[in-house]
């Protein structure tokens, strides 16, 4: 898959995003890492130009409840409904329902085993191929639950 890994918010803590990028590469994916401090519209532009299949959003600065919905809305406006979106970083439990309701299909907190992310992506591909909804703009309901 072509996966864009985006780090949003004004902080520069990008180690998580870089670790994930490398792990995804080692699992055979093509990863486009956007660099830090990209705005939602810049990220959406990158998704379009790179014809990405998935987007991983990394957020640690507490801006997840504004920036993630903003990104998801922009994606839907651009009719990128099939894009698979997942998020990581610091996203407290109490805020997660809102994030899932935006169309994000998985949230991975600190200390997540990278295998979970691979499993999520594989599951997403399976769902997509069998016509089930998995994109950010498709029918809500399914999201990844980490065991």
């Amino acid at each position: 898959m072509r996966i864009v890994v985006a780090k949003v918010g004004l902080d520069g803590h990008d180690r998580g995003a870089k670790v994930i990028s490398r792990a995804l590469r080692d699992a055979g994916h093509e990863v486009i890492y956007t660099g830090i401090r990209k705005t939602p519209s810049e990220i959406v532009r990158i998704i379009i130009d790179e014809d990405a299949d998935a987007l991983g959003i990394s957020t640690l600065s507490g801006a997840h409840d504004t920036l993630i919905p903003k990104i998801c809305n922009l994606l839907k406006n651009e009719e990128l409904n099939e894009l698979i979106v997942f998020a990581g970083g610091i996203i407290p439990e109490r805020d997660r329902k809102i994030i899932y309701d935006c169309g994000v299909r998985a949230i991975f907190g600190p200390g997540t085993n990278t295998n979970s992310i691979f499993d999520f992506l594989n599951e997403s591909i399976k769902r997509k191929e069998s016509g089930e909804s998995v994109g950010v703009g498709e029918t809500l309901g399914w999201h990844w639950i980490d065991e």
Binding site: R22, D26, G28, K38, R45, L80
Partner: protein, 301 residues
């Protein structure tokens, strides 16, 4: 070839129409179709493509950022193809991350696409050629193909451009490596970046010296400091007034064919077995060489 997408079912021809009329999504989807081998576009007539290569850490991306600024300021549209090597082990790649570090997202006048070299026969060749042609046809007046010049095939990719810029930095020592790879002879312009640092003038002189010992025509060697924004205008003028040298064309074709060949060898499934047998001693090196030769002789029959 039909495609699904938010834009509905579209054929490659419809995508081409959309791309030409400025639809970025169509352009992006079309490039993917080319990458999958589903679409070919051979019209090369309006292409202006610059290959940029050089060792890591010399400030290539910053320099490219400056070129983009200059050209977009004068109303041009710049497309960048950032090519990175696919991992031979995992088959994955981290693409274009160095380019993303600069603020080149200047809206509608810049288009950046990241590509992996891929390990299958031919890899991204010759699809880069079709991509350049399509981009040009759709109004992208300056196209930059960027690779990190670490290996033969990476350098070979820049050969698809009709002019090549080699970027080096002071004190790198890589220029000697570049000389061995023949890349220096392939370049149309050589830039020593980070001219704000002390040894860059000396490095530039070294390059000029080794060039004058070789080819008949002297390749311009320029000093720039991308971070301090100096030497950029001279570089732009040089690039724009460059007339692609026909004698270098055969050098480039040589490079293209050699890279293609290496790609074929690497992606042959039996190549790994030959390496394995030679490594654990079950075959000698000369036996391995014979096996390798036989691989390709057999396929010709």
């Amino acid at each position: 070839m039909k495609l699904w997408g938010g834009i509905g079912l579209m054929s490659s021809d419809e995508l081409l129409k959309g791309a030409k009329s400025g639809n970025r999504r169509s352009l992006s989807k079309l490039l993917s179709e080319i990458e999958r081998g589903n679409f070919i576009f051979e019209d090369h007539s309006k292409v202006w493509a610059l290959g940029v290569t050089g060792p890591p850490g010399v400030g290539k991306s910053t320099l490219i950022g400056k070129l983009i600024d200059r050209w977009t300021n004068s109303g041009e549209k710049v497309a960048v193809l950032a090519v990175d090597p696919t991992s031979p082990i995992s088959g994955g790649a981290i693409l274009g991350d160095r380019l993303r570090m600069i603020n080149s997202d200047v809206g509608d006048s810049v288009f950046v696409r990241s590509l992996a070299t891929k390990n299958y026969p031919g890899g991204i060749f010759p699809k880069i050629s079709d991509m350049i042609n399509v981009l040009s046809y759709c109004g992208w007046s300056r196209i930059i193909i960027e690779t990190v010049g670490s290996g033969q095939s990476e350098i070979g990719i820049t050969a698809f451009a009709d002019r090549i810029l080699l970027v080096d930095g002071p004190d790198r020592g890589d220029i000697i490596q570049a000389e061995k790879a023949g890349i220096m002879e392939m370049a149309d312009v050589i830039v020593v970046n980070k001219s704000d640092l002390p040894r860059s003038k000396a490095t530039a002189n070294l390059i000029i010296e080794s060039l004058s010992l070789g080819s008949k025509d002297l390749i311009p060697v320029l000093l720039t400091s991308a971070s301090e924004n100096s030497g950029i205008d001279e570089l732009v003028n040089c690039l724009e007034s460059l007339v692609p040298d026909q004698s270098r064309k055969s050098l480039r074709i040589r490079q293209i064919l050699l890279s293609h060949w290496t790609s074929l060898v690497i992606s042959n499934p039996r190549f790994e077995k030959i390496i394995k047998d030679a490594s654990n001693g079950s075959k000698s090196i000369s036996e391995s060489i014979s096996l390798l030769t036989e691989l390709f002789e057999k396929e010709e029959n």
